[in-house]
Symmetry: C2
Subunit: 395 residues, 2 copies
């Protein structure tokens, strides 16, 4: 038993909350503070804390519980209403950044690739990286502001799920150019299978839970435990059986539980579990991952441009998508802002690209910078575009 663990957790809990409160004082979301806490403690600055197995596992559990809670707090009727809009937003939110990333990389050619078809493929891959959306930061920010269950909030959540699926499709298509044994049909079948599974199992489990819970007059801890088990199993099945992100499964599990009559009871407990231990470690771990390599001047310029492109194309794509679906200008801005954050998803995609030879090592630093900047800036922009009157939530 390594007791340093206790000290590490103490450091994370203390610093994320302290920086969170400081940022709140300056009218910014607390989650920005939590992200910076990881950045400060980690290899990027003080280097007193490194991400280890334990932290990364707790983080995974943390993001699963966060997305389950988001599902719990979603109004499923609202969610269904925004379904088509979410699809349009997601599709444009994938296409515009894909195009933007491709054009920038192809015309700047930062790694001086001579082979033109390879240059096109590699540039396209940078585009694919930019399509990723990491919704967890947005969820936390909106929760903090009490805006998660707004019309724009629902559209963002729906679009993020579809974005995840489109991301898999885009990655599969580009992989099929580089690697021989990618089976497009299989991937498509899995995705269709996942949605069929989610609908059928979702309906059955909803009926089962409703029947079970209606049996009792009082609230019991067992409801929480069965719901948690359900959440974990859905996350696991999504990832292992259907190759869809585990957090998508967790979100759907939350969505299913949100229709039961114990929604409030569950939400309070999962929120407590989340803010006391899992979320602080998850948000700090994002900062802990950051290691900045040395970069040439050309790569620095490329990084800056790529970051700008990443933010603008996502906002433009999603915003225009929302506008087409008759959202108000303000809501278009909110939705665009909610999809900016790339988070760990972009890093995972980049990693797969490197394995397939579609990512040069020089491109890693720009991608890391895009992830850091979009992740930290997203909650700040969200705060600006969502804030009207102040709504105090006890933190």
């Amino acid at each position: 038993m390594d007791y340093t663990l206790l000290l590490n957790i103490a450091m994370i809990l203390f610093s994320t909350k302290l920086l969170g409160l400081i940022f709140q004082r300056f009218n910014m979301p607390q989650v920005v503070g939590a992200l910076l806490a990881g950045l400060v403690l980690g290899p990027a600055m003080l280097n007193v804390l490194q991400e280890d197995e334990f932290i990364s596992m707790i983080s995974e559990l943390g993001v699963i519980v966060l997305m389950f809670s988001a599902g719990l707090e979603t109004d499923i009727k609202e969610f269904k209403k925004t379904g088509l809009a979410s699809l349009v937003i997601a599709v444009l939110g994938v296409l515009v950044p894909l195009l933007g990333g491709f054009c920038l990389t192809y015309f700047m050619n930062p790694v001086a690739e001579n082979d033109d078809s390879m240059a096109m493929l590699k540039s396209m891959f940078v585009g694919v990286i930019l399509t990723a959306t990491s919704v967890s930061i947005t969820v936390e920010t909106l929760k903090e502001m009490g805006k998660l269950n707004s019309k724009a909030g629902n559209a963002i959540l729906g679009a993020a799920i579809i974005d995840d699926v489109l991301g898999i499709v885009a990655l599969t298509i580009i992989s099929s150019f580089a690697v021989e044994d990618v089976d497009m049909v299989m991937v498509m079948l899995k995705i269709v299978g996942f949605f069929a599974f989610a609908i059928v199992v979702g309906f059955l489990c909803f009926k089962l839970f409703s029947f079970y819970m209606n049996h009792y007059k009082k609230d019991y801890r067992r409801f929480v435990m069965w719901a948690f088990t359900f959440c974990l199993i859905m996350a696991w099945i999504s990832e292992i059986l259907f190759s869809v992100a585990d957090i998508t499964g967790a979100y759907i599990a939350g969505l299913i539980m949100s229709s039961t009559n114990r929604k409030e009871y569950l939400a309070v407990r999962f929120n407590t579990l989340s803010y006391m231990l899992l979320s602080p470690i998850f948000f700090a771990s994002i900062g802990l991952k950051v290691v900045l390599p040395k970069m040439s001047a050309g790569i620095i310029i490329f990084s800056v441009l790529l970051t700008v492109i990443a933010i603008l194309t996502k906002m433009a794509g999603c915003g225009v998508g929302a506008k087409l679906c008759r959202f108000s200008n303000r809501e278009c801005l909110q939705i665009g802002a909610g999809m900016i954050s790339r988070g760990e998803v972009a890093l995972i995609v980049a990693d797969k690209g490197a394995q397939m030879g579609l990512m040069d090592s020089e491109i890693f630093a720009p991608v890391v910078i895009v992830v850091i900047v979009t992740t930290i800036i997203a909650p700040v922009i969200l705060k600006v575009v969502f804030s009207e009157r102040k709504k105090a939530v006890s933190q």
Copy 2:
């Protein structure tokens, strides 16, 4: 990232709660079910789950939070009142099992040791193993029954802390016979230092927290986070600086926080964190540790006798101690029962003995059996000696 983790956690949460509810139906504590869940899933039976790094770390965190909660729910005035009694109970609760374990082993001589002085030393070591007390199971059982803050409950908690310290002293003394470089003076100084530290820091932190919390009219999440940080740091300092068990530090931290005016607010949150994730994993992990080796007939008989001696001597020692301090007969029984469980503490001591050559490998199986039986039987006996009228607590 190994996604099997999600499935493993789901299995633990589901099985501990399910078996817990089944045991509750038969009027037994839920924690017995949780312990058996680990036994069933683990290497002892189905072998679908093994204890890994993650589970053992979460377990450590779980027992720390459990003891912190116990501290939070302790009535510090009651606790001070039972101080002297706890000392008497702990001393007799160490001496009687020490003698019992020594006599049984020396006269049965199960490993046929020829060297008489070595036989005495080894027998004494078995006695030292029997002095250990693992209070976590008792805490959980009493919590379930709403009896943690009874007079007997306070006496048990106090005695368990002193028992921990006496255990260190006993281990140090016997080690000094076997190993050259054991510094008795240093160990004593550390123990005195620990109590001085606990009193001084305890008082200062109590003042600091009280001042800080009185500043706010409402309850805030930050109270929970600062309290958690404090708990973890106290646990770490106890273990690393003073070689006292981390859970003792956590308990003292809880005791300090129990005097602030946010005791209830904190208790609810820590209980939620505990029952949703940490405790189930902790209790299951105890069962997961169980691996029964092959045993000869002589060792089996020795195991049975050692288990009986372990239960009777602890109950007798603590019971007589309580009687000397004018507890009622019923309370004596309750206190004796509350100290039976040996839990992981005995295994840790046994492990140290093996490193020093004071434990033959044949003795490991009997020790494991003592731990399993005392741990599973303790909550059952507690339920019997504590139950009068039923008190329903929502689980």
